[in-house]
C-alpha cells in the first residue's frame, strides 16, 4: 500500500488548494511527506502478511477509529453533560463550541471570518 502523491495533489486541486498549503495546514513537513511517498509500502510488512494469510484486504484488519455517527453521539453526550453543569448557559452555544474544539484553530477562524464577512456586522 503506497502513498499516492498524484491522488493527494488531485484532491488538493479539487479543494482549491496546493500540496504545499495542505502540508503547512496539516503540520506535515515536505520531508516527512516525500519520505513516506518513496516507501514501497506505508503499511508494515507484517500487517500485509497477516492480511494475505487471512485472504482479506489490508484495510480489513485496521481499525479506522470512530465513525462520524459515534463521534457525534459522544459530542452530544458531552454537550448535554456540560449544559447540565452550567444551567445558565445556552445549550446551543455549548454544542457549537464543542464542535469547533474538534476543528483546527485556523478552520475555526475561517468559519468566523466567512460568516462575519457574509453578514456585515460592523
Amino acid at each position: 500500500m503506497k502513498l499516492d502523491v498524484e491522488k493527494v495533489k488531485s484532491l488538493c486541486r479539487k479543494r482549491g488548494t496546493s500540496l504545499q498549503a495542505l502540508l503547512q495546514e496539516a503540520g506535515v513537513s515536505r520531508n516527512a511527506f516525500y519520505t513516506l511517498a518513496r516507501k514501497k509500502s506505508i503499511v508494515p510488512q507484517s500487517i500485509v502478511t497477516l492480511a494475505e494469510q487471512l485472504e482479506v484486504p489490508v484495510s480489513s484488519v485496521l481499525d479506522k477509529g470512530p465513525t462520524p455517527k459515534t463521534r457525534l453521539m459522544a459530542l452530544v453526550y458531552e454537550a448535554h453533560r456540560t449544559a447540565a453543569q452550567h444551567q445558565d448557559a445556552d445549550p446551543d452555544n455549548i454544542r457549537h463550541t464543542l464542535i469547533l474544539l474538534d476543528e483546527k484553530p485556523v478552520e475555526r477562524l475561517r468559519r468566523a471570518l466567512r460568516r462575519g464577512r457574509k453578514f456585515d456586522l460592523r
Binding site: 482549491g16 488548494t17 496546493s18 498549503a21 503547512q24 495546514e25 496539516a26 503540520g27 513537513s29 458531552e78 454537550a79 453533560r81 456540560t82 453543569q85 452550567h86 448557559a89 445556552d90 452555544n93 455549548i94 457549537h96 463550541t97 464543542l98 464542535i99 469547533l100 474544539l101 483546527k104 484553530p105 485556523v106 475555526r108 477562524l109 475561517r110 468559519r111 468566523a112 471570518l113 466567512r114 460568516r115 462575519g116 464577512r117 453578514f119 456585515d120 456586522l121 460592523r122
Partner: protein, 155 residues
C-alpha cells in the same frame, strides 16, 4: 487556489513574518475568541502591538507587499495591501492592563506549522465587558458559554 481562502497562505505568512521579526504582538478580539473555539463571527483579525514603531512590523509588511497607513484625524492606523486587509490594528484594549502585563495571559495557538500569540478568552471577555458596546453585549453570552464548555473539556 489557496489564495482564495478567507485566511490563507498570505495572511499566515504575514503573521509568521511578524514572529520571525520578533515583533511583540497578540491576536485579540473576536478572532482570538474564535481561534480558541468560541462560536462567534467577525470581519477582521485584531492585532495588538506593544510598539507600533517596531521596525519589524515594516519588514513583515514589506515581505507581503503591504504598507502601514498612519493615523489621520479620527482614522486609526491601518494596514494596506491584499495580504493584510483582514488585519486591524488595535491601539488600546478597553478594560485591560498594559500590553506588558497582558502578555501573562497569552496562549500560543498553532496556525499550520507555527504558533501565534493569542489573548486568553477570559481577558477578551473582560475587555468586551469594559467596552459595553451593543455588539459586544451580544457577543458576551456566547463568549461566557464557550468559556464554560472549554473549561469543562479541559478538566
Amino acid at each position: 487556489m489557496a489564495e482564495n481562502l478567507i485566511f490563507g497562505d498570505r495572511e499566515a505568512e504575514f503573521l509568521k513574518e511578524l514572529m520571525r521579526q520578533k515583533v511583540d504582538f497578540m491576536i485579540v478580539g473576536l478572532a482570538a475568541a474564535a481561534l480558541q473555539g468560541a462560536p462567534v463571527v467577525t470581519q477582521d483579525v485584531d492585532l495588538w502591538f506593544r510598539d507600533l514603531a517596531d521596525i519589524g512590523i515594516g519588514r513583515a509588511l514589506k515581505k507581503v507587499r503591504g504598507a502601514y497607513v498612519p493615523p489621520m484625524g479620527h482614522n486609526p492606523p491601518m494596514f494596506a495591501g491584499d495580504a493584510v486587509q483582514l488585519f486591524d490594528i488595535v491601539v488600546h484594549m478597553h478594560g485591560l492592563s498594559p500590553f506588558e502585563e497582558e502578555k501573562e495571559h497569552l496562549l500560543k495557538i498553532p496556525l499550520g506549522r507555527f504558533k501565534v500569540p493569542v489573548l486568553k478568552l477570559e481577558r477578551i471577555i473582560a475587555s468586551k465587558k469594559a467596552t459595553g458596546r451593543d455588539k459586544d453585549k451580544l457577543a458576551m453570552k456566547v463568549l461566557k458559554d464557550a468559556l464554560a464548555a472549554i473549561r469543562e473539556r479541559e478538566k
